[in-house]
């Protein structure tokens, strides 16, 4: 499926569209994984959409469950507020119908009563509203916090292959933009939504109580309102889903192109980037526009229904008053209540906007939370055998490929006794890093098993595995923060002395000491403050501090100058003495400290033995070794 149909080498045409403009569609190229760009749950089929919606509802339920009590209180406050607010027009009616006549007769008492009731109602409304808003603010923020942490934690648990598919920008977009749109609902809309819903209900009740026939006419509006709202909910759900996707693409492009800004500038890529950005930005604009247009129809639609009802009530109610079947005051109150009825509906339509946007975002997040890590923690973890001198590693019949149809390793057999230092060499692309990643359980083998001290890695708890096995990756990464913090990443509990000792052991102390703030120097984003070699040294110190049973070094010294590399190697000699180590290196100098050399080619081990023996044997290693020897001075 991922193979070019005829298996031939594909050469793309130059990307200039006929009109001379650049073809913006094809710049991203074809992903090798058809599922790239989304979590598996986010399919476009109707069933998948329905499933996701169900999931996101369940998620919402889970998020709200811990706050049941507070929610109950909030609803009570809301009811109180609403009752107080609703009493306003009723009191007006009382005032008009029952206070004027006594007042004319010189009895102010009814008026005083009405006024007192009005003041009480206003005060109640104030207190209840304030309490309600504070409380819902708290609940909302707590839910957001919970959600944020859940999603972040889940991203951390998901495997490397998922992240390679999903990309950093999309993860960022989920955790920022999507959460923002939920936050927007939380701090602007949710109370309006509930207030509106409640006051609609209570007004309906009051209207029925005031004058049944008049209310019946009013309630005729309901089916229309319902129908309109359902149409809007359906249409806007799709529109907002598209918005979420479009903004993710904007973020992906933004994050990636600014991360590579040096290459962008050196290669004058700015213009084309701008075009691409304009394209994704415009897609986002279009998507938002569509969503906003829907509300531009919905909101006046509600208005039409509302005003129509008012006109009908006015005429019909007037007629009823004429017929003497109802009082003028009732008609007045009725019209006032109608206003109270449709105004919140209006607000409701405003905020159903945020609601739909938040729903779409929640669905995306539910999709992520629904994703199961392919490299999962075991149900029942097996403990590693304890005792000194552990760290035996074995690959048993391991086959693996990043794509099912392109195996990288086939039936790999390898046993490394505890304490042995093994050098892994071979041409680029042979699969060396792949072996390292399997041993560090970034991926699980397709068949066969990787074991540590006889335990399948799949049966080890993640924390235990990481304590035992540390991989210094080829593309080492420093986090922004100080040098010390970065080294301490290897063992969070380590004190300053331990950090410094680790740096000294691998020869990084000298350069760190001369940095402006020593160990406290900020390394900036991705360690940009340091030179490439310095970054490698810090990464090395970090691994040293972690002090694992099994240390895997993937090209950990490739950017060092020769003497520094020597120093590191010398240190390695002692560090690795009582540890199992897998050292991947192109510089054969590293190999000299190894007990054993493996030559890997095309995913197979083609030579295996102690370095001296292999060098003498006249095979591949011997040739490489000779070539390398000759290059030295």
């Amino acid at each position: 499926m991922t193979e070019a149909p005829d298996g031939s080498r594909r050469v793309p045409r130059p990307r200039v569209a006929p009109d001379g403009g650049l073809d913006l569609k094809r710049w991203r190229g074809r992903a090798t994984d058809p599922d790239a760009d989304r979590s598996r749950a986010e399919d476009a089929t109707p069933e998948a959409v329905a499933r996701l919606r169900a999931r996101s509802r369940a998620l919402l339920g889970q998020l709200l469950r811990p706050h049941r009590r507070r929610l109950g209180l909030a609803v009570t406050l809301l009811l109180a507020q609403n009752a107080a607010a609703m009493s306003g027009p009723y009191l007006v009616m009382l005032g008009i119908d029952h206070a004027i006549a006594p007042l004319r007769a010189g009895d102010p008492e009814p008026l005083v009563t009405v006024a007192a009731a009005f003041a009480t109602a206003s005060l109640t409304e104030y207190l209840a509203r304030r309490g309600f808003l504070t409380l819902t603010g708290r609940i909302g923020q707590a839910v957001l916090l919970d959600l944020r942490q859940r999603v972040y934690g889940h991203f951390l648990r998901l495997d490397v292959a998922f992240h390679e598919r999903y990309t950093c920008g999309r993860m960022v977009s989920r955790l920022t933009s999507d959460l923002d749109s939920i936050a927007e609902l939380v701090d602007g809309g949710i109370d309006n939504l509930v207030v509106a819903a409640l006051s609609v209900l209570s007004v309906a009740g009051i209207l029925l109580w005031l004058d049944l026939p008049l209310a019946a006419v009013t309630l005729l509006a309901f089916p229309f309102l319902f129908w309109l709202s359902r149409w809007f909910a359906r249409a806007s759900a799709g529109a907002y889903r598209r918005t979420r996707e479009a903004v993710a693409l904007v973020i992906v492009h933004f994050v990636e192109s600014l991360r590579g800004i040096r290459a962008v500038q050196a290669y004058r890529r700015e213009e084309r980037n701008q075009q691409i950005f304009a394209a994704v930005n415009d897609d986002y604009r279009e998507a938002s526009l569509q969503a906003f247009r829907l509300i531009a129809v919905y909101s006046p639609g509600i208005k039409v229904i509302g005003n129509l009802t008012v006109a009908v009530v006015l005429a019909y109610g007037g007629a009823r008053v004429l017929g003497g079947r109802t009082e003028v005051g009732v008609l007045a109150a009725f019209l006032l209540y109608l206003r109270r009825f449709f105004e919140p509906m209006q607000e409701l339509s405003q905020f159903s906007n945020s609601l739909q946007s938040a729903t779409a975002a929640l669905e995306k997040l539910a999709g992520v939370l629904d994703e199961r890590p392919a490299v999962a923690e075991p149900e029942r973890p097996v403990a590693l055998p304890t005792g000194p001198g552990r760290g035996a590693v074995a690959f048993r019949g391991v086959s693996f490929g990043y794509r099912p149809d392109a195996p990288i390793l086939t039936e790999l057999e390898l046993t490394v006794p505890a304490g042995q230092t093994v050098a892994l060499i071979g041409p680029t692309g042979a699969g060396k890093s792949t072996i390292a990643k399997l041993l560090a359980r970034f991926h699980d083998p397709a068949t066969g098993a990787v074991t540590l001290d006889g335990v399948d890695l799949r049966d080890l708890a993640d924390a235990e595995l990481r304590r035992a096995v540390v991989l210094v990756t080829q593309e080492n990464h420093l986090f922004s923060g100080s040098v010390a913090e970065n080294i301490r990443f290897g063992r969070p509990g380590a004190d300053d002395a331990a950090v410094e000792a680790a740096a000294r052991a691998i020869g990084a102390h000298d350069f760190i000491a001369t940095l402006p703030d020593g160990y406290a120097t900020e390394v900036h984003r991705r360690g940009g403050r340091l030179s490439a070699g310095q970054r490698q040294l810090v990464a090395f110190a970090r691994a040293f501090l972690a002090d694992p049973r099994v240390l895997i070094l993937d090209e950990a010294t490739s950017s060092l100058d020769v003497p520094t590399e020597r120093l590191v190697q010398r240190a390695l000699g002692s560090i690795l003495r009582d540890r199992t180590a897998l050292v991947i290196a192109h510089r054969l100098s590293t190999v000299e400290i190894a007990d054993r050399v493996l030559v890997l080619d095309g995913g197979r081990i083609v030579e295996d033995g102690p370095p001296a023996q292999l060098a003498a044997a006249g095979g591949r290693y011997a040739a490489l070794h000779r070539q390398w020897r000759d290059s030295l001075i």
Binding site: R130, Y267, R269, R285, K303, A463, I512
Partner: protein, 604 residues
């Protein structure tokens, strides 16, 4: 960590411009829509007028037909109410429909401009900005501004106008009661002012913290493999929880602030209504007011509830927009320091011989004390290949980055064929220079696009040749050939594959000047030899500056320069230097380490 590396903090503290100044400065984006905005306002006002007229119709109904038992009049007035109601809805529809396109258009335009500006800012600037902070500016901050410009601003104007109109109507209905309602504006104003001040600070804090959280997320995403390798998930989660909790606390504080004010905005109109009711009833009893007038008065006054109530949200929204605008202007106000000089010239590829000279070049990273490069003098003759050798951290990469002007020299100058680089158009200079960084920077797009990053016009043959030179023909064997998307940062390729693609990109199109930073470090001995052989053919007639760590690669160079302590301490052929310069031997020698002066060789 958050604020100090964020933008130019100086601009924030010293002078205190008006809080809304930066929002005001965004008006050019509003300008294309200004006439439209005017129309919309008129429409909105008309709609409001229509809705205001309805209670007056009600008054007529109560006082007229109902009192006079006039059925025809009743129907007429009912029809009038209907027409007014429909007119209102249609006007609202037109306003919203038009407005939606202008507001998202504005948002997109600002976003594109920020992006364009960011692309112009030099790499040094980007190192200091936190990426998450930038990101939250183009997403959350912009949408806050969009919301304000599309709703907040309009409703602010609309609500104030509605308020005034209603008050005028009320005063006309009944001057004393009307003035009472008008007086309620005073407490409202005081409350608003206080609220605005507090909310401003809170919303800025919130936005900064949002940026911090975004930064944390992005860092995590990028360092995910390292996190895995060390199993530091729990620690990162704890760190994130810290950031998220601060955000939560600020959010709660903001909500409390808003709750207090919003409730007050409810209370004031209610109390006024109560007073009107009492006074109005009394007046009606005294005969100074008809019942119909009282009903109209009260229902008109109820129309004030929503405008006043929403004032809290609008002010909050406005303050958020103001601080968001501050944050956006902080980016836009950062001047791009590396730009074309006035009268900068173009240099033609054909006319370039390629003599590169560093003349007393010094360089210091902004914010650090000691210079990395100190009066470097170095000449690379046309067609020559010069290898730059030196200890880890001595400034080799820094020196190379000066050539395509990714950083600007602090003192001295660099010339190409006698032209100061600063007198050349940036684009022209960068077209002449092919660069490969020590970390191959690949993007998640097709291999082809990655290769032709700087030369979108490159043809198939050129690409094939470049790939052949870099021994990177493996690219044709990828599932979709050159159309295959390489993963983010090229992570779906092996280390050596990435480096070879980056090398192919640098040599594509035969640049006049090649600047390669340790280009073969990730290659095995055998592939390295093949690439070297191919490179040698290219380098024969290209001026090249290479950073080299291995003796094997030094063989590519005609001459070698040794960088030490920020200066070029020796230049010569490899064998000359080996024979005469002990420091050179020390840097390249694989022999036992001589720790001269007892210190390591790594410089900082």
């Amino acid at each position: 960590m958050p604020a100090q590396s964020d933008g130019n903090p100086a601009a924030r503290d010293d002078r205190r411009p008006h809080p809304l100044r930066n929002l005001w400065r965004l008006r050019p984006y509003l300008r294309p829509y200004a006439p439209e905005f005017g129309w919309l306002l008129v429409l909105a006002l008309a709609a409001t007028a229509a809705s205001l007229a309805v209670p007056l119709v009600v008054q007529r109904v109560v006082d007229g037909p109902v009192a006079r038992h006039d059925v025809a009049g009743l129907l007429r007035l009912g029809a009038l109410a209907l027409v007014l109601g429909l007119a209102e809805a249609v006007l609202i529809f037109i306003r919203r429909w038009t407005q939606s396109s202008s507001s998202v258009g504005m948002e997109a335009a600002i976003r594109a401009d920020i992006y364009a500006h960011l692309q112009r800012l030099p790499a040094g600037c980007h190192d200091r900005w936190q990426s998450g902070q930038l990101l939250s500016r183009i997403t959350s901050d912009l949408s806050v501004i969009r919301r304000f410009l599309s709703f907040g601003l309009l409703f602010l104007v609309l609500n104030v106008v509605t308020y005034l109109a209603v008050v005028v109507l009320l005063i006309r209905l009944h001057p004393a009661l009307g003035l009472l309602v008008a007086a309620s504006a005073v407490p409202l104003f005081l409350i608003s002012r206080r609220f605005a001040r507090h909310y401003h600070a809170a919303s800025r804090r919130m936005q900064d913290q949002q940026g911090d959280v975004a930064t944390l997320v992005e860092e995590t995403a990028q360092g995910l493999r390292t996190m895995r390798a060390y199993g530091r998930g729990p620690e990162l989660a704890a760190r994130f929880a810290g950031g998220a909790r601060t955000l939560h606390d600020t959010g709660v504080r903001k909500a409390r602030l808003l709750a207090r004010t919003a409730a007050l905005f409810d209370l004031v109109p209610n109390l006024t209504l109560g007073m009107v009711l009492v006074a109005g009833t009394a007046a009606a009893a005294g005969g100074a007011l008809t019942i119909g007038e009282l009903v109209a008065f009260v229902s008109l006054q109820l129309m004030l509830v929503w405008p006043v109530q929403s004032l809290g949200w609008i002010i909050a929204n406005g303050q958020e927009a103001a601080t968001a605008a501050d944050r956006i202007q902080e980016v836009l106000d950062t001047p791009p320091t590396i730009v074309d000089a006035p009268g900068a010239r173009l240099l033609d590829r054909a006319g370039v011989r390629g003599r590169l000279r560093f003349e007393r070049v010094s360089f210091r990273y902004p914010g650090s004390q000691a210079p990395v490069l100190d009066e470097v003098d170095l000449t690379v003759e046309p067609g020559e290949t010069l290898a730059l050798v030196g200890a880890t951290g001595c400034g080799k990469s820094t020196l190379l980055s000066l050539v395509p002007r990714l950083h600007e020299v602090t003192r001295g100058r660099i010339t190409l064929d006698g032209h100061d680089l600063r007198d050349l158009r940036l684009s022209s200079l960068r077209r002449l220079v092919g660069v490969a960084f020590e970390e191959p920077t690949l993007f998640s797009m097709s291999v082809w696009e990655n290769l032709t990053l700087g030369r979108p016009d490159a043809g198939e043959q050129e690409v094939r040749a470049a790939l052949a030179l870099a021994q990177a023909e493996f690219a044709y064997d990828l599932p979709w050939g050159l159309a295959t998307r390489v993963g983010e940062q090229g992570l779906s390729l092996s280390g050596g594959q990435r480096q070879r693609l980056a090398l192919a990109r640098a040599v594509l199109g035969r640049p006049a000047l090649l600047v390669l930073d340790d280009p073969l470090s990730a290659l095995d001995v055998h592939t390295e030899a093949l690439v070297e052989a191919a490179l040698r053919r290219v380098l024969r007639d290209t001026t090249a500056l290479l950073v080299v760590h291995r003796p094997s690669t030094v063989a590519l160079a005609d001459r070698v320069a040794l960088l030490d302590g920020g200066r070029i301490v020796a230049v010569g052929t490899h064998s000359e230097l080996l024979a005469t310069v002990p420091a050179y031997r020390a840097v390249l020698s694989a022999g036992p380490v001589q720790r001269h002066d007892g210190a390591g060789l790594v410089r900082s």
